[in-house]
Protein backbone atom coordinates (compact mmCIF):
# COMPACT_ATOMS: atom_id res chain seq x y z
CA UNK A 1 0.00 0.00 0.00
CA UNK A 2 1.12 3.56 -0.77
CA UNK A 3 0.24 6.52 1.45
CA UNK A 4 0.12 9.84 -0.39
CA UNK A 5 0.23 13.30 1.13
CA UNK A 6 -0.61 16.08 -1.34
CA UNK A 7 1.06 19.46 -0.93
CA UNK A 8 0.54 22.10 -3.62
CA UNK A 9 1.15 25.83 -3.40
CA UNK A 10 1.86 27.61 -0.14
CA UNK A 11 -1.20 26.87 2.03
CA UNK A 12 0.53 23.87 3.61
CA UNK A 13 4.17 23.44 4.48
CA UNK A 14 6.66 20.58 4.50
CA UNK A 15 6.16 20.56 8.26
CA UNK A 16 2.46 19.74 7.76
CA UNK A 17 3.47 16.79 5.57
CA UNK A 18 6.07 15.56 8.04
CA UNK A 19 3.62 15.77 10.96
CA UNK A 20 0.98 13.60 9.24
CA UNK A 21 3.70 11.11 8.29
CA UNK A 22 4.85 10.91 11.91
CA UNK A 23 1.27 10.59 13.17
CA UNK A 24 0.38 7.76 10.76
CA UNK A 25 3.60 5.77 10.63
CA UNK A 26 3.05 3.88 13.92
CA UNK A 27 -0.05 2.28 12.40
CA UNK A 28 1.27 1.08 9.05
CA UNK A 29 4.23 -0.35 7.21
CA UNK A 30 3.02 1.23 3.95
CA UNK A 31 5.35 3.40 1.90
CA UNK A 32 4.79 7.16 2.25
CA UNK A 33 5.06 9.67 -0.60
CA UNK A 34 4.55 13.39 -0.79
CA UNK A 35 2.82 14.38 -4.05
CA UNK A 36 4.13 17.89 -4.63
CA UNK A 37 5.78 20.43 -6.89
CA UNK A 38 8.08 21.59 -4.04
CA UNK A 39 10.06 18.94 -2.15
CA UNK A 40 11.89 21.38 0.10
CA UNK A 41 12.19 20.10 3.70
CA UNK A 42 9.88 17.12 3.12
CA UNK A 43 11.34 14.11 4.97
CA UNK A 44 9.56 11.38 2.95
CA UNK A 45 10.03 10.39 -0.70
CA UNK A 46 8.34 12.71 -3.16
CA UNK A 47 6.63 12.23 -6.48
CA UNK A 48 6.09 15.14 -8.81
CA UNK A 49 2.68 16.58 -9.55
CA UNK A 50 2.43 16.45 -13.36
CA UNK A 51 2.94 19.89 -14.86
CA UNK A 52 0.30 19.31 -17.56
CA UNK A 53 -2.49 19.92 -17.46
CA UNK A 54 -1.79 22.41 -14.73
CA UNK A 55 -4.25 22.21 -11.84
CA UNK A 56 -4.55 24.28 -8.71
CA UNK A 57 -4.63 23.28 -5.05
CA UNK A 58 -6.85 20.25 -4.20
CA UNK A 59 -7.76 19.74 -7.85
CA UNK A 60 -4.35 18.07 -8.15
CA UNK A 61 -5.96 15.01 -6.52
CA UNK A 62 -7.44 14.33 -9.97
CA UNK A 63 -3.95 13.45 -11.31
CA UNK A 64 -4.05 10.40 -9.01
CA UNK A 65 -6.65 8.80 -11.30
CA UNK A 66 -4.58 9.06 -14.46
CA UNK A 67 -3.55 5.94 -16.33
CA UNK A 68 0.06 7.17 -16.17
CA UNK A 69 0.11 7.82 -12.40
CA UNK A 70 3.48 6.49 -11.39
CA UNK A 71 2.56 4.32 -8.38
CA UNK A 72 0.97 0.88 -8.62
CA UNK A 73 -1.58 -0.92 -6.46
CA UNK A 74 -3.47 0.20 -3.40
CA UNK A 75 -3.16 3.89 -2.55
CA UNK A 76 -4.52 6.08 0.24
CA UNK A 77 -4.41 9.86 0.32
CA UNK A 78 -4.62 11.80 3.56
CA UNK A 79 -5.25 15.56 3.64
CA UNK A 80 -2.84 17.70 5.62
CA UNK A 81 -5.47 19.53 7.71
CA UNK A 82 -6.65 16.46 9.61
CA UNK A 83 -5.71 15.10 13.02
CA UNK A 84 -4.95 11.42 13.51
CA UNK A 85 -6.65 10.22 16.70
CA UNK A 86 -6.06 6.47 16.43
CA UNK A 87 -5.43 3.71 13.90
CA UNK A 88 -7.62 4.29 10.78
CA UNK A 89 -6.23 1.32 8.83
CA UNK A 90 -8.76 -1.33 9.97
CA UNK A 91 -11.39 0.79 8.18
CA UNK A 92 -9.17 1.30 5.16
CA UNK A 93 -8.07 -2.33 4.76
CA UNK A 94 -11.67 -3.54 4.68
CA UNK A 95 -12.86 -1.55 1.64
CA UNK A 96 -13.69 -2.81 -1.85
CA UNK A 97 -10.56 -1.70 -3.71
CA UNK A 98 -12.37 -1.77 -7.04
CA UNK A 99 -13.84 1.65 -6.25
CA UNK A 100 -12.46 4.96 -5.01
CA UNK A 101 -13.55 5.23 -1.40
CA UNK A 102 -14.28 8.43 0.50
CA UNK A 103 -15.19 9.48 4.00
CA UNK A 104 -18.80 10.57 4.32
CA UNK A 105 -19.97 13.84 5.89
CA UNK A 106 -22.98 12.22 7.53
CA UNK A 107 -23.95 15.49 9.23
CA UNK A 108 -24.99 16.80 5.80
CA UNK A 109 -27.49 14.00 5.27
CA UNK A 110 -30.47 15.81 6.77
CA UNK A 111 -29.63 19.26 5.42
CA UNK A 112 -31.39 20.64 2.39
CA UNK A 113 -29.18 21.22 -0.61
CA UNK A 114 -30.84 22.05 -3.90
CA UNK A 115 -29.51 20.17 -6.91
CA UNK A 116 -27.85 23.22 -8.39
CA UNK A 117 -25.84 23.93 -5.22
CA UNK A 118 -23.76 20.91 -6.29
CA UNK A 119 -23.03 20.08 -2.66
CA UNK A 120 -21.87 16.63 -1.61
CA UNK A 121 -21.71 14.25 1.33
CA UNK A 122 -18.35 12.93 0.11
CA UNK A 123 -15.18 14.01 1.87
CA UNK A 124 -11.81 13.17 0.35
CA UNK A 125 -9.84 14.04 3.49
CA UNK A 126 -9.09 10.33 3.33
CA UNK A 127 -9.36 8.78 -0.13
CA UNK A 128 -8.46 5.22 -1.06
CA UNK A 129 -8.26 3.76 -4.56
CA UNK A 130 -6.37 1.28 -6.70
CA UNK A 131 -3.96 3.01 -9.03
CA UNK A 132 -4.73 2.85 -12.75
CA UNK A 133 -7.97 0.97 -12.11
CA UNK A 134 -10.39 3.87 -12.53
CA UNK A 135 -8.77 6.03 -15.19
CA UNK A 136 -12.22 6.66 -16.72
CA UNK A 137 -12.57 9.24 -13.93
CA UNK A 138 -9.62 11.25 -15.24
CA UNK A 139 -10.93 10.87 -18.78
CA UNK A 140 -14.28 12.45 -17.83
CA UNK A 141 -12.51 15.30 -16.03
CA UNK A 142 -9.92 15.84 -18.75
CA UNK A 143 -12.59 16.45 -21.40
CA UNK A 144 -13.60 19.78 -19.85
CA UNK A 145 -11.28 20.69 -16.99
CA UNK A 146 -11.92 24.41 -17.10
CA UNK A 147 -15.70 23.93 -16.86
CA UNK A 148 -15.52 21.39 -14.04
CA UNK A 149 -13.18 23.57 -11.99
CA UNK A 150 -15.61 26.48 -12.39
CA UNK A 151 -18.68 24.37 -11.66
CA UNK A 152 -17.45 22.44 -8.62
CA UNK A 153 -15.62 23.79 -5.58
CA UNK A 154 -13.63 20.58 -5.28
CA UNK A 155 -13.21 16.99 -6.35
CA UNK A 156 -15.73 15.64 -3.82
CA UNK A 157 -18.51 17.47 -5.62
CA UNK A 158 -17.20 16.32 -9.00
CA UNK A 159 -17.30 12.66 -7.89
CA UNK A 160 -20.76 13.00 -6.35
CA UNK A 161 -22.45 14.70 -9.30
CA UNK A 162 -20.73 13.15 -12.31
CA UNK A 163 -21.27 9.56 -13.42
CA UNK A 164 -18.60 8.02 -11.23
CA UNK A 165 -18.78 4.91 -9.08
CA UNK A 166 -17.49 5.36 -5.53
CA UNK A 167 -17.86 3.89 -2.08
CA UNK A 168 -17.65 5.16 1.52
CA UNK A 169 -15.53 4.02 4.43
CA UNK A 170 -17.38 2.61 7.40
CA UNK A 171 -18.48 5.52 9.59
CA UNK A 172 -16.20 4.20 12.34
CA UNK A 173 -13.29 5.86 10.56
CA UNK A 174 -14.55 9.18 11.98
CA UNK A 175 -13.49 7.96 15.44
CA UNK A 176 -9.90 7.67 14.22
CA UNK A 177 -9.50 10.92 12.30
CA UNK A 178 -10.66 14.43 13.09
CA UNK A 179 -11.54 16.21 9.84
CA UNK A 180 -13.07 19.27 11.47
CA UNK A 181 -10.49 21.53 9.75
CA UNK A 182 -9.63 23.45 12.94
CA UNK A 183 -7.11 20.98 14.25
Amino acid sequence: MNIILLKHGTKYSADDVNKIYIALSPYTSAKFYCFTEDKTDVIIDCINIPSKPKLMRWWNKMHLFREDFELEGKCVLFDLDIKILSDPFPYINSIDWNYPTFMKDTWKKDKFFSEHSYDTELNSSVLAWTSKQNSYIWNIFNKNIDYYTRKYKGIDRFFWHEEIQWRNFDDGIHNTIDVSKDT
Binding site: K52, L55, M56, E115, H116, N144, D146, K151
Partner: protein, 211 residues
Protein backbone atom coordinates in the same frame (compact mmCIF):
# COMPACT_ATOMS: atom_id res chain seq x y z
CA UNK B 1 -21.01 53.60 -27.42
CA UNK B 2 -23.60 51.13 -26.10
CA UNK B 3 -22.12 47.76 -27.06
CA UNK B 4 -24.75 45.53 -25.45
CA UNK B 5 -28.10 46.48 -26.91
CA UNK B 6 -31.56 45.47 -25.60
CA UNK B 7 -31.78 42.86 -28.38
CA UNK B 8 -28.65 41.19 -26.98
CA UNK B 9 -30.19 41.04 -23.53
CA UNK B 10 -33.30 39.50 -25.16
CA UNK B 11 -31.06 36.80 -26.66
CA UNK B 12 -29.47 36.13 -23.27
CA UNK B 13 -32.93 35.66 -21.71
CA UNK B 14 -33.87 33.29 -24.54
CA UNK B 15 -30.67 31.32 -23.89
CA UNK B 16 -31.53 31.00 -20.20
CA UNK B 17 -34.92 29.54 -21.16
CA UNK B 18 -33.21 27.22 -23.64
CA UNK B 19 -30.76 25.95 -21.02
CA UNK B 20 -33.61 25.16 -18.63
CA UNK B 21 -35.58 23.31 -21.30
CA UNK B 22 -32.56 21.35 -22.56
CA UNK B 23 -31.54 20.46 -19.00
CA UNK B 24 -34.88 18.64 -18.55
CA UNK B 25 -33.94 15.97 -21.10
CA UNK B 26 -30.25 16.40 -22.00
CA UNK B 27 -27.71 15.70 -19.24
CA UNK B 28 -24.96 17.62 -21.04
CA UNK B 29 -26.92 20.79 -20.19
CA UNK B 30 -26.71 21.36 -16.45
CA UNK B 31 -28.03 24.19 -14.33
CA UNK B 32 -24.57 25.66 -13.71
CA UNK B 33 -24.76 26.88 -17.32
CA UNK B 34 -27.15 29.60 -16.12
CA UNK B 35 -24.49 31.03 -13.89
CA UNK B 36 -21.71 30.46 -16.39
CA UNK B 37 -23.54 32.36 -19.14
CA UNK B 38 -24.52 35.18 -16.80
CA UNK B 39 -20.94 35.40 -15.47
CA UNK B 40 -19.66 35.70 -19.02
CA UNK B 41 -21.84 38.80 -19.52
CA UNK B 42 -21.13 40.34 -16.09
CA UNK B 43 -20.25 44.01 -15.78
CA UNK B 44 -16.61 43.08 -15.20
CA UNK B 45 -16.47 40.87 -18.30
CA UNK B 46 -18.07 43.57 -20.44
CA UNK B 47 -15.63 46.16 -19.08
CA UNK B 48 -12.62 43.97 -19.87
CA UNK B 49 -13.75 43.12 -23.37
CA UNK B 50 -14.73 46.73 -24.17
CA UNK B 51 -11.26 47.74 -22.98
CA UNK B 52 -9.70 45.29 -25.44
CA UNK B 53 -11.98 46.39 -28.29
CA UNK B 54 -11.31 50.09 -27.75
CA UNK B 55 -7.54 49.74 -27.48
CA UNK B 56 -7.38 47.37 -30.47
CA UNK B 57 -9.39 49.79 -32.60
CA UNK B 58 -6.79 52.47 -31.91
CA UNK B 59 -3.98 50.36 -33.39
CA UNK B 60 -5.50 48.31 -36.22
CA UNK B 61 -6.12 49.31 -39.81
CA UNK B 62 -7.89 47.70 -42.74
CA UNK B 63 -4.93 45.44 -43.53
CA UNK B 64 -5.99 42.87 -40.94
CA UNK B 65 -8.04 40.15 -42.61
CA UNK B 66 -9.17 38.05 -39.68
CA UNK B 67 -9.40 37.94 -35.91
CA UNK B 68 -8.96 34.72 -33.95
CA UNK B 69 -10.24 34.54 -30.38
CA UNK B 70 -8.68 31.80 -28.27
CA UNK B 71 -10.83 30.57 -25.38
CA UNK B 72 -13.87 32.50 -26.57
CA UNK B 73 -16.32 31.25 -23.86
CA UNK B 74 -19.77 32.48 -25.00
CA UNK B 75 -18.45 34.89 -27.63
CA UNK B 76 -18.70 38.24 -25.85
CA UNK B 77 -15.45 39.69 -27.22
CA UNK B 78 -16.37 38.77 -30.81
CA UNK B 79 -19.80 40.34 -30.40
CA UNK B 80 -18.34 43.59 -29.06
CA UNK B 81 -15.61 43.72 -31.69
CA UNK B 82 -18.15 43.23 -34.49
CA UNK B 83 -20.47 45.75 -32.86
CA UNK B 84 -17.60 48.27 -32.88
CA UNK B 85 -17.33 47.95 -36.67
CA UNK B 86 -14.82 45.13 -37.30
CA UNK B 87 -16.38 43.45 -40.32
CA UNK B 88 -13.78 40.81 -41.20
CA UNK B 89 -14.14 37.18 -40.07
CA UNK B 90 -13.87 36.62 -36.32
CA UNK B 91 -13.04 32.98 -35.48
CA UNK B 92 -13.89 31.97 -31.94
CA UNK B 93 -12.03 28.87 -30.78
CA UNK B 94 -13.33 27.23 -27.62
CA UNK B 95 -12.77 23.76 -26.15
CA UNK B 96 -16.26 23.45 -24.72
CA UNK B 97 -18.74 22.48 -27.42
CA UNK B 98 -21.73 23.61 -25.34
CA UNK B 99 -20.21 27.10 -25.02
CA UNK B 100 -20.18 27.23 -28.80
CA UNK B 101 -23.76 25.97 -29.13
CA UNK B 102 -24.90 28.72 -26.79
CA UNK B 103 -22.64 31.33 -28.39
CA UNK B 104 -24.21 30.47 -31.74
CA UNK B 105 -27.63 31.30 -30.28
CA UNK B 106 -26.32 34.65 -29.03
CA UNK B 107 -24.67 35.54 -32.33
CA UNK B 108 -25.82 38.83 -33.85
CA UNK B 109 -23.25 39.34 -36.62
CA UNK B 110 -22.69 37.18 -39.70
CA UNK B 111 -18.92 37.60 -39.68
CA UNK B 112 -18.63 35.67 -36.41
CA UNK B 113 -17.73 31.95 -36.57
CA UNK B 114 -17.46 29.44 -33.73
CA UNK B 115 -15.15 26.43 -33.78
CA UNK B 116 -14.72 23.75 -31.15
CA UNK B 117 -11.10 22.88 -30.48
CA UNK B 118 -7.91 23.73 -28.67
CA UNK B 119 -6.82 27.24 -29.63
CA UNK B 120 -3.22 26.31 -28.99
CA UNK B 121 -3.44 23.39 -31.42
CA UNK B 122 -5.38 25.30 -34.09
CA UNK B 123 -3.11 28.33 -33.89
CA UNK B 124 -0.77 27.16 -36.65
CA UNK B 125 -3.55 27.26 -39.23
CA UNK B 126 -4.14 30.96 -38.52
CA UNK B 127 -0.51 32.02 -38.14
CA UNK B 128 -0.26 34.77 -40.78
CA UNK B 129 0.92 38.36 -40.85
CA UNK B 130 -2.54 39.85 -41.37
CA UNK B 131 -4.26 38.21 -38.41
CA UNK B 132 -5.21 39.50 -34.98
CA UNK B 133 -5.13 36.96 -32.15
CA UNK B 134 -7.07 37.80 -29.00
CA UNK B 135 -7.10 35.92 -25.71
CA UNK B 136 -8.77 37.72 -22.83
CA UNK B 137 -8.52 34.62 -20.62
CA UNK B 138 -4.79 33.90 -20.45
CA UNK B 139 -5.22 33.13 -16.75
CA UNK B 140 -6.96 29.91 -17.90
CA UNK B 141 -4.21 28.88 -20.33
CA UNK B 142 -0.96 27.10 -19.57
CA UNK B 143 1.85 29.65 -19.62
CA UNK B 144 4.25 27.38 -21.49
CA UNK B 145 1.75 26.85 -24.28
CA UNK B 146 0.96 30.55 -24.47
CA UNK B 147 4.65 31.48 -24.61
CA UNK B 148 5.17 28.85 -27.30
CA UNK B 149 2.60 30.36 -29.66
CA UNK B 150 3.96 33.85 -29.05
CA UNK B 151 7.40 32.56 -30.10
CA UNK B 152 5.97 30.74 -33.12
CA UNK B 153 3.75 33.54 -34.38
CA UNK B 154 4.40 35.48 -37.58
CA UNK B 155 6.32 38.63 -36.67
CA UNK B 156 3.55 40.92 -37.97
CA UNK B 157 0.65 39.08 -36.35
CA UNK B 158 -1.00 41.35 -33.77
CA UNK B 159 -1.80 39.88 -30.35
CA UNK B 160 -4.10 41.23 -27.66
CA UNK B 161 -3.75 39.32 -24.41
CA UNK B 162 -5.29 39.72 -20.97
CA UNK B 163 -4.55 38.01 -17.67
CA UNK B 164 -4.94 38.92 -14.00
CA UNK B 165 -3.65 38.42 -10.46
CA UNK B 166 -6.83 36.70 -9.22
CA UNK B 167 -5.07 33.64 -7.82
CA UNK B 168 -7.98 32.57 -5.60
CA UNK B 169 -10.01 31.11 -8.45
CA UNK B 170 -9.32 27.39 -8.96
CA UNK B 171 -9.58 27.52 -12.75
CA UNK B 172 -6.96 30.30 -12.90
CA UNK B 173 -3.77 28.40 -13.68
CA UNK B 174 -1.75 31.27 -15.14
CA UNK B 175 -2.03 34.41 -12.99
CA UNK B 176 0.66 37.05 -12.73
CA UNK B 177 1.64 39.35 -9.88
CA UNK B 178 1.88 42.46 -12.05
CA UNK B 179 1.62 43.81 -15.58
CA UNK B 180 5.42 43.68 -15.86
CA UNK B 181 5.44 40.03 -14.84
CA UNK B 182 2.75 39.27 -17.44
CA UNK B 183 4.70 41.11 -20.17
CA UNK B 184 7.92 39.26 -19.25
CA UNK B 185 6.13 35.91 -19.50
CA UNK B 186 5.04 36.59 -23.08
CA UNK B 187 8.27 37.62 -24.83
CA UNK B 188 6.48 39.82 -27.36
CA UNK B 189 9.07 41.76 -29.38
CA UNK B 190 7.07 44.95 -29.79
CA UNK B 191 4.66 46.14 -27.09
CA UNK B 192 2.20 48.61 -28.60
CA UNK B 193 -0.08 49.00 -25.57
CA UNK B 194 -0.05 47.75 -22.02
CA UNK B 195 -2.25 48.63 -19.08
CA UNK B 196 -3.87 47.57 -15.81
CA UNK B 197 -7.45 47.90 -14.58
CA UNK B 198 -8.50 47.21 -11.01
CA UNK B 199 -11.74 45.32 -10.44
CA UNK B 200 -13.68 46.21 -7.26
CA UNK B 201 -10.43 46.25 -5.24
CA UNK B 202 -10.40 42.44 -5.63
CA UNK B 203 -7.86 41.96 -8.37
CA UNK B 204 -6.04 43.64 -11.25
CA UNK B 205 -6.54 42.76 -14.90
CA UNK B 206 -3.60 43.26 -17.25
CA UNK B 207 -3.68 43.80 -20.99
CA UNK B 208 -0.92 43.73 -23.57
CA UNK B 209 -1.24 44.49 -27.28
CA UNK B 210 1.82 43.81 -29.35
CA UNK B 211 3.65 41.89 -32.05
Amino acid sequence: MEYITPSMYRKILDVITHIYTRSTYDKTYDLFRFKDVLDSFSAGQIMNKVWAVEELNKVIDDSYKECIVIGSWYGLFAHLFAESGFNKKIYNIELDDICNEIAQMLKAHNNIVFKTGDGMELFDKHNHHDRIVVCTACEHIDNEELSFIVQQKHEDMLMCLQSNNYYEINSHINCHDSLEHFIDSLSLKNIIYSGTKNHKDEYDRFMVIGK
